[in-house]
């Protein structure tokens, strides 16, 4: 299987990449990890006339951690994120990065590329939504900051202009006494999850003072489970409150039946995943070390 012929441009600076993107217009695509784009091109579901390769750009494969938070460069690959972020503060990022596809794909695929693709089954958007991430976007007019919640508009659709690219993803440090967890259920390593749940909890005296819950694979974009959050706020993350939150999350999910399962099955799965993610996040918020990651079935 071969892609249609294309012209190859190796960007040497982010300005050059941005200029090429503006010049070549909609016939051009950016090549970062390529783990979705290249298979799409081989299946001829995508046939760009120009590829702008970002992989030779210096200073984009970066991960900068400070007291304020984290800056993830456009070329930071899943494997690097999984290997580098050992601190409990970023446990939810480790959960996600360490379970995406398989080792080979994690060695190439990038977080920013996953966000830009906006696949409804992608793992990163729900996770980054709970952390209220924002994107630093570069274009011919310079840079702008785009909150993630305004960036992903629909399935495979972002608010980026055609000539814009993500330079980095920024995450503010979560407050002390908070914890997060991401749980995705997959049938096998290579496939997208059947459903996933990302949870961020802030605990005060054992009670949830802040809750953010986003669901993956069960809507055109990550589903913000606000009613589930309301069920937990002001309560302990356990017992009846957690049961009602799981039910509310299942009700908020709008899954499509496919080979990964029926609507009913996926709704039930969402409830289970939310319960597991809330429990892990709560233990982490309390200071426990909890091993996380994807579940396989």
């Amino acid at each position: 299987m071969y892609p249609k012929p294309f012209r190859y441009h190796r960007a040497r600076s982010i300005e050059e990449a941005s200029r090429l993107l503006a010049e070549l217009g909609e016939d051009a695509r950016l090549l970062a990890g390529g783990q979705s784009l290249i298979p799409l091109m081989k299946f001829r579901l995508a046939a760009p006339e120009h590829l702008i390769d970002l992989n030779f750009l210096p200073d984009l494969d970066t991960l900068r951690e400070s007291d304020d938070g984290l800056q993830i460069g456009a070329l930071a690959r899943h494997a690097r994120i999984a290997d580098s972020l050992g601190s409990p503060r970023w446990a939810i990022l480790h959960d996600c990065a360490s379970g995406i596809a398989d080792a080979q794909v994690r060695n190439r695929g990038t977080l920013a590329g996953s966000v830009a693709e906006a696949d409804p089954s992608g793992d990163w958007v729900p996770v980054l939504s709970t952390l209220e991430a924002s994107l630093t976007v570069t274009g011919p007019a310079g840079e702008r900051t785009l909150p993630l919640r305004e960036a992903v508009l629909d399935a495979y659709t972002t608010a980026l202009e055609p000539e814009e690219m993500i330079r980095e993803v920024r995450i503010s440090a979560p407050p002390a006494g908070s914890g997060g967890a991401f749980v995705a259920f997959k049938r096998t390593a290579q496939v997208y999850a059947s459903a996933s749940a990302a949870v961020h909890l802030e605990l005060r005296d054992g009670v949830c003072s802040g809750v953010r819950i986003y669901l993956g694979c069960v809507g055109l974009t990550a589903v913000h489970a606000e009613e589930a959050e309301a069920q937990l706020k002001g309560r302990t993350p356990s017992g009846d409150g957690l049961e009602r939150a799981a039910e509310a999350a299942a009700a908020a999910a709008d899954p499509q039946p496919d080979m990964r399962g029926s609507r009913e099955y996926k709704r039930m799965l969402v409830g289970c995943l939310v319960k597991e993610a809330v429990s892990r996040a709560a233990r982490r918020a309390a200071g426990d070390t909890v091993r996380g990651g994807h579940l396989y079935g």
Binding site: P5, F6, Y8, D102, A103, Q104, R108
Partner: protein, 165 residues
């Protein structure tokens, strides 16, 4: 696009030897290795980034060579299954796959060997769960993986004893 697509000159180090070629941009890395260099040990399986038969190491990291273009490997250091043995002497991983019957038809074996090599380069003493996770990107329809896992454990033990790479 009526004009001819310009070919790109690339230089890649493969198993310690440097190669310079002019390639079409859409040439896949796996076909560069197999057809341009004649190194047919790396197999083409599913062509869709699932099976891992085409796994090679690029700058020390395992990648699926059917899901990369050869131009992306320019200036890089590639290791394929042909780079494992030292002359007639099998690499401990190859010896262990043979000893433990970690293969049957052998089609997936080059990819599994390279994934296992990547694992052991980072973790010289993996447990079973770590091995299973490390080879999750490699499909084998013969062995049921049990003997593959036994082979990786044996190779790890041999390599720790020998201080081998």
């Amino acid at each position: 696009m009526a004009d001819e697509i310009p070919r790109i000159e690339i230089e890649v180090e493969v198993n310690g030897r440097s190669y310079r070629r002019e390639v079409e941009p859409r040439l896949l890395l796996v076909d560069f290795v197999r057809q341009e260099l004649g190194l047919t040990g790396t197999h083409v399986g599913c062509e869709s980034s699932y099976c891992g038969a085409c796994t090679v190491l690029l700058n020390g990291a395992s990648v699926k060579s059917c899901t990369m273009f050869a131009v992306q490997a320019d200036g890089g250091r590639l290791e394929t299954v042909e780079g494992l043995a030292d002359g007639e002497r099998l690499h401990p991983l190859q010896q262990a796959f043979s000893d433990c019957h970690g293969l049957q038809c052998g089609y997936c074996t080059p990819g599994l060997l390279m994934s296992a090599r990547y694992l052991l380069s980072r973790n010289p003493d993996p447990d079973e769960e770590e091995i299973r996770k490390a080879i999750a990107g490699n499909l084998c329809r013969c062995t049921g993986y049990q003997n593959v896992i036994a082979a990786v454990r044996q190779a790890a033990a041999t390599m720790r004893k020998e201080g081998a790479e």
